[in-house]
C-alpha cells in the first residue's frame, strides 16, 4: 500500500508543544474584525451598517457571486464600523468591525440536531453555502462550489485530509481525537452527493491517537477507510494526498475533481457536519497557538475575528525574557509572517506560531552561491527542477521557465527552499515569477481582446 508521494522534506515537527493539549473554546473580550475577503473569489458584500445590532451566527456580509462566501458574525454586540483595517496579508482591507458585548447571544434557528435523512443533495449544498464554509486547510475555496462538480458520478474518492504535515500545528490532531464521529458523519454526508465515491481519511503516522480514534469511529461506515500516511512534508498538500490515494499526479491546470477526487480538510468536513445537521454556520474553528516564544502553547476553538494579540494572552502570553521575532499565521512552512499582532483570525487561520528565532534571517546570513547539489530536485514533490528554474529566472529566460521546465506547476510548498544548503530563496523566486508570467498573459489577452 502506498503511503507517501515522491520527494518531500522532514522538518522538525515541533508538535510536542501542543499536541496533547485538548481543544478549548476561547471567547474574545475585545472588538472583532471580519475581513470581507476570506476566500478566493470576490469579497462578500456587507449587509449591516454602523450601529446595527448583531448576534452570534448572523450573516453580516453576503456572498457576491457563486465563487464568493458568506461572512458570519461570531459575537453579539453592535457594528462599530465598516472600514479598512490591517489584515494578515499586511495590507489594509475592507472589514466589518463589531463591538463585542461579551454575552455571545446566539441567533435563533440553529444548534439542535435535525433529522437529515430526507434532505436532497441540493438542500445539503444550500446549507453548506448558507453557512459560509470555505476550505479551512488554507486555500479558502468555497466548499459549496467544490462539492458541486460538473459530473458527481465521476468522483471516485472523497478525501478527508487530516495529514496536518505543517510543523507546529496540532488543532486537527486534537479535532480528530475528540470529534472523530462528527467528522465521519460529515464525510458520510458528503459521500451522499457522490454515488460512486469512497471516503478516504488521510492521517500522518505521527498522530497515532487520532488514527485510533478515527478507525474506531469508522467501523460503522462501509464506504470509509482510514489511510495512515508516512510523516513527511508536504504530505497534506492537495496534489500529494491525491497522489497517494490514486497513484497519479495532475497538473495545476486541472482540479482535483478532474482526477475523480474531492479533497477537504477534516476541519472543513467537521464544519459541514455542523452546518448540515445543526444548521450552524461557520464562525468558530480549531486553531493552534504555539511556538517557543509563548508560555502555554495549546489548541483553541476560536471565534472568527478574534485578534492575534488576544490569542497570545489566551495562551499565557509571551515567555519572559524572550523577544518575539516572528508571528506566523499558520505554520513555518506555508504560513504568512504577520506585521503585527493586531490582526484578526480569519476562517482559514489554523495556527498562530510565535517564534523567537527566525529561520529566514539566519538563512540570509548563510546564503552562498548555488552548488548545483540537486537537493531541491530530489525533494520537489511535483518533480520539478528548482535549480534550473532559478537559473532560467536569473537569465531572464521565462520561455524556458514556463515551457521546458514547467515552472508554473510549482505549488510553492517551500520544500526546495527548506532543503537548500546554499539557502537560496527558491520558492520566493518562483512565486514572483509565476505571478509575473500570469500578469503578462493577462496583459497579452487583454491586448488581444481589444484588437
Amino acid at each position: 500500500m502506498k503511503t507517501t508521494f515522491r520527494g518531500g522534506v522532514h522538518p522538525k515537527d515541533q508538535k510536542a508543544y501542543s499536541r496533547d493539549v485538548p481543544l478549548r473554546p476561547y471567547d474574545p473580550k475585545g472588538d472583532l474584525i471580519f475581513p470581507l475577503a476570506q476566500h478566493i473569489g470576490r469579497p462578500a458584500k456587507p449587509i449591516v451598517k454602523k450601529n446595527d445590532p448583531v448576534l452570534v451566527g448572523q450573516c453580516i456580509a453576503q456572498a457576491d457571486g457563486p465563487m464568493s462566501a458568506n461572512i458570519i458574525c461570531s459575537c453579539s454586540g453592535k457594528v462599530k464600523a465598516v472600514e479598512k483595517r490591517r489584515t494578515i496579508a499586511g495590507t489594509l482591507a475592507d472589514c466589518i468591525v463589531v463591538e463585542n458585548d461579551g454575552l455571545f447571544t446566539q441567533m435563533e434557528g440553529f444548534g439542535t440536531r435535525e433529522d437529515i435523512s430526507g434532505l436532497t443533495n441540493q438542500q445539503i449544498l444550500d446549507r453548506v453555502q448558507a453557512a459560509g464554509i470555505v476550505g479551512l486547510g488554507g486555500a479558502g475555496f468555497p466548499t459549496h462550489v467544490k462539492l458541486a462538480p460538473k459530473d458527481p458520478a465521476a468522483i471516485r474518492y472523497v478525501i478527508a485530509n487530516g495529514a496536518e504535515c505543517e510543523p507546529y500545528l496540532t488543532c486537527n490532531d486534537q479535532l480528530m481525537r475528540t470529534c472523530a464521529a462528527d467528522i465521519l458523519e460529515g464525510l458520510d454526508i458528503i459521500l451522499r452527493l457522490f454515488p460512486n465515491a469512497e471516503g478516504v481519511v488521510c492521517i500522518e503516522r505521527n498522530k497515532p491517537e487520532a488514527i485510533a480514534a478515527m478507525e474506531q469511529a469508522a467501523a460503522k461506515y462501509e464506504k470509509i477507510r482510514i489511510l495512515a500516511l508516512h510523516t513527511k512534508y508536504p504530505q497534506g498538500g492537495e496534489h500529494n494526498v491525491i497522489q497517494v490515494v490514486t497513484g497519479a499526479d495532475y497538473p495545476t491546470s486541472k482540479l482535483p475533481a478532474d482526477m475523480g477526487c474531492i479533497v477537504d480538510n477534516v476541519g472543513t468536513i467537521y464544519a459541514v457536519q455542523r452546518a448540515v445537521v445543526f444548521r450552524e454556520p461557520l464562525f468558530t474553528h480549531g486553531l493552534t497557538v504555539t511556538g517557543d516564544a509563548v508560555k502555554n502553547p495549546g489548541n483553541f476553538i476560536v471565534r472568527d475575528g478574534t485578534s492575534f494579540a488576544e490569542l497570545v494572552e489566551a495562551a499565557g502570553g509571551l515567555k519572559e525574557g524572550v523577544t518575539l521575532k516572528k508571528a506566523l499565521s499558520g505554520g513555518p512552512m506555508m504560513g504568512f509572517a504577520a506585521s503585527s499582532l493586531d490582526v484578526p483570525v480569519q476562517k482559514i487561520t489554523n495556527g498562530l506560531t510565535l517564534l523567537s528565532k527566525d529561520g529566514s534571517e539566519t538563512a540570509e546570513r548563510q546564503m552562498t552561491a548555488c552548488l548545483h547539489c540537486g537537493r531541491c530536485t530530489t525533494v520537489c514533490p511535483a518533480g520539478l527542477m528548482p535549480q534550473m528554474m532559478a537559473d532560467a529566472v536569473d537569465m531572464g529566460d521565462l520561455e524556458r521557465y514556463e515551457k521546458k521546465l514547467y515552472g508554473l506547476e510549482c505549488v510553492a510548498c517551500g520544500s526546495c527552499t527548506y532543503i537548500c544548503p546554499a539557502k537560496r530563496p527558491l520558492t520566493q523566486t518562483f512565486k514572483q515569477t509565476k505571478a509575473e508570467i500570469q500578469a503578462r498573459k493577462r496583459a497579452a489577452a487583454a491586448a488581444g481582446g481589444k484588437s
Binding site: D249, L324, K325, P332, M333, G359, S360, A382, Y418, T427
Partner: protein
C-alpha cells in the same frame, strides 16, 4: 507589547545543512584516505597535503580580499579542492608543485570563472592536469617501499601482473590517495548521507566495468576487472571527482548519462590509450558535457509523465513510479554500440598497426646492422630479465629484444638490442642499439619517439644520432652544456635534457647488455 516583527515570505524554517557543513563532511570523508596515504608515504606526503590545502585556502582568501568579494573562503570548499588535488598527486612531487597546482585550480579555474558554483571543470582535476602537462616527468616519479617504480596501473597497462591486495590497501604505490579501501569508506559514507549522488558514482563504475568486461578481451575475469578498478584513480574519480556538484548534471537521468559517459571513456582510454592518468581526462570531458546535458535532459514533472497522463485520461491500471528502466537500457545500448564500433576499428587496425610496428623494428635493425642478411633472437637471455627494469643506473629501462645479425653464410655481423625507457618527457621511448662483433657501437635507430616537437623530438635528428655512430666506448656521457669533444660524450639537445638523458641511458643500457651478456658469453 510590540517590537518590530520580521516579515518575509515562507518557508520560515530551514534545514540545518549549509554549504560549509557539506564541505566539512566531504573533508572528513577524505580523512581515511589522507591518513593511509601519509602513513604509507611518510612526511613528504603530509607536506604535500598541507601545502596544497593551505595554498588553495590562501589563494581564495587573497582573491576575495583583493576583489572585495565576501563570504566565499569561509565555506571550506577551497580546502576540499586542495585536499583532492594533493591526494591525486604522487607522494614524491617537488613541494612547489602542490602550491602551483592549488593556485591554478583556485585562481584560474574557480575564482576567475565566478567563484563557488561557477567553475566549468573540477578545479582539483584541472590543477592536477595542469601539473602533469607542465611538469611532466617530476610529477610521475612513483616509489614502492622507497624504490622507484612504475605505478600499478602503468604496469597493468604494460601487460604486467599487479598485486591487487596491495593496490586495494594503498601500499602498492601510486598517488597519495591510492588506498581504495579508505576511499571506499569515505565515498560510501558520503553516499549514505546523500551528499554524493549514487546515480553518478555507480554509473561511472558500472560503465567502466562493463566496457572493460566486454571489450577488455578478458571477459568477466574478476582479477582483471578488480585490478583496473583499483588503479589509476577510478574510485577516487567516481566518488570524489565526478560527483562534484558544480560540474555534474542535476537531473537523475542526466547524472546517469554523465556517469556512463565518464565510465566508458575511462575504460576506452585504458584499453586503447597509453596515458596512465587517463581517468582524469575522462572526468574532465564529462564535466565539459555537463552544461549540454543539463540543457537538454530535463525530466518532465510527475504530472506530465506517462503513468499520470494515463490516469488523467481516465485509464486506470497499475501506476509505475520507477521510470529509470527505459533510459538506462537505451543508454546501455548506445554505450554498447559505441564500444563495438571502437573495438571493431581497433581490431581491424590492430593487425596493420602491429605489422607496421614489426616493419619499423626490422627497419631499425637493418639501419644499425646494415651487413646482416637475417637476425637470430637471444630469447633466453632476455627472458632471464623477467620484464624487470634493467640494471640500476639506467633509470626505468627495459630490454625488449636482443638479436645477432648474420650474413648469408652465417657469419656474425653484429648485435642489436631493442630498448624501451619509461623516462621520456612525454611518453615511452624505444630504440635499437647496434653493436659490431668487436664491441663498437654502430649507431642507434628509434622505433618510438613521441616527445615534444622542437624539443625532445629533436633527439631523432641526424646530428644528435650521429653522436652514437661508430664509437668504441663502454658508456656514453651526457654533457648538458655542450662542448663534447671526446668519443662517448654526447651534447644534450638544449631544452630537452630529460629526453636526451633518457636516450643516453637507454643506449647505455643496451650497450651494457650487449657487452656483458651477449658478448661476454
Amino acid at each position: 507589547m510590540n517590537t518590530a516583527l520580521n516579515l518575509s515570505s515562507g518557508p520560515h524554517v530551514r534545514d540545518r545543512w549549509t554549504t560549509a557543513f557539506v564541505m566539512h563532511v566531504v573533508l572528513l570523508s577524505l580523512l581515511p584516505a589522507t591518513v593511509v596515504g601519509v602513513i604509507v608515504n611518510g612526511v613528504h606526503a603530509l607536506l604535500v597535503v598541507l601545502l596544497a590545502m593551505a595554498s588553495a585556502f590562501l589563494t581564495e582568501f587573497c582573491f576575495d580580499k583583493l576583489t572585495h568579494r565576501p563570504n566565499t573562503y569561509t565555506d571550506c570548499s577551497a580546502l576540499v579542492t586542495g585536499l583532492l588535488l594533493a591526494l591525486s598527486l604522487s607522494p614524491n612531487v617537488p613541494l612547489y608543485t602542490p602550491v602551483l597546482g592549488s593556485i591554478f585550480a583556485i585562481l584560474v579555474v574557480k575564482c576567475c570563472f565566478g567563484g563557488l558554483g561557477k567553475n566549468f571543470i573540477n578545479p582539483a582535476l584541472a590543477g592536477r592536469c595542469f601539473l602533469l602537462i607542465s611538469f611532466g616527468r617530476s610529477m610521475t616519479i612513483y616509489t614502492i617501499d622507497g624504490v622507484s617504480s612504475a605505478t600499478p596501473i602503468a604496469e597493468l597497462m604494460a601487460g604486467k601482473a599487479v598485486d591487487i591486495t596491495r593496490m586495494f590497501l594503498g601500499t602498492g604505490g601510486g598517488v597519495i590517495g591510492s588506498s581504495i579501501l579508505a576511499l571506499l569508506v569515505g565515498g560510501l559514507i558520503l553516499w549514505g548521507l546523500d551528499i554524493i549522488h549514487g546515480e553518478i558514482c555507480f554509473s561511472v563504475l558500472g560503465g567502466f566495468t562493463l566496457f572493460l568486461a566486454i571489450f577488455g578481451g578478458q571477459g568477466f575475469d574478476p582479477k582483471f576487472l578488480a585490478a583496473h578498478l583499483c588503479g589509476g584513480g577510478v574510485v577516487m574519480g567516481a566518488f570524489f571527482m565526478a560527483t562534484d556538484y558544480v560540474t555534474s548534471p542535476v537531473s537523475k537521468l542526466g547524472q546517469l548519462t554523465y556517469g556512463l559517459l565518464i565510465g566508458v571513456l575511462g575504460a576506452m582510454f585504458r584499453l586503447y590509450g597509453s596515458a596512465a592518468d587517463s581517468f582524469s581526462y575522462s572526468v574532465i570531458i564529462g564535466n565539459l558535457f555537463t552544461p549540454l546535458i543539463d540543457y537538454f535532459v530535463v525530466p518532465k514533472p510527475y504530472a506530465y509523465r506517462k503513468a499520470s497522463l494515463r490516469y488523467q485520461r481516465g485509464e486506470t491500471g497499475k501506476v509505475l513510479n520507477g521510470k529509470l528502466v527505459k533510459p538506462v537500457v537505451v543508454l546501455s545500448i548506445i554505450a554498447l554500440l559505441a564500444g563495438l564500433a571502437l573495438s571493431g576499428v581497433f581490431s581491424m587496425t590492430k593487425d596493420t598497426i602491429d605489422a607496421q610496428k614489426l616493419a619499423a623494428k626490422a627497419e631499425s635493425y637493418r639501419a644499425v646492422c646494415p651487413d646482416a642478411d637475417h637476425f637470430e633472437a637471444y630469447t633466453s637471455e632476455v627472458e632471464a630479465l623477467d620484464g624487470q627494469v634493467y640494471g640500476s643506473s639506467f633509470g626505468r629501462v627495459y630490454i625488449n629484444e636482443a638479436v645477432r645479425g648474420l650474413d648469408a653464410d652465417g657469419n656474425l655481423t653484429g648485435y642489436v638490442v631493442s630498448v624501451t625507457t619509461a623516462d621520456g618527457n612525454d611518453a615511452d621511448i624505444s630504440l635499437s642499439v647496434g653493436v659490431s662483433p668487436e664491441g663498437v657501437v654502430r649507431g642507434i635507430a628509434f622505433t618510438a619517439l613521441n616527445e615534444t616537437p622542437g624539443m625532445g623530438m629533436r633527439c631523432g635528428e641526424p646530428d644528435f644520432m650521429a653522436q652514437f655512430e661508430d664509437k668504441d666506448v663502454s658508456q656514453f656521457t651526457l654533457l648538458k652544456d655542450g662542448g663534447a669533444s671526446q668519443p662517448g660524450e654526447v651534447d644534450s639537445i638544449s631544452g630537452a635534457t630529460v629526453t636526451s638523458r633518457a636516450v643516453v641511458n637507454a643506449v647505455n643500457a643496451g650497450l651494457d647488455f650487449c657487452q656483458n651478456v651477449l658478448r661476454g658469453e
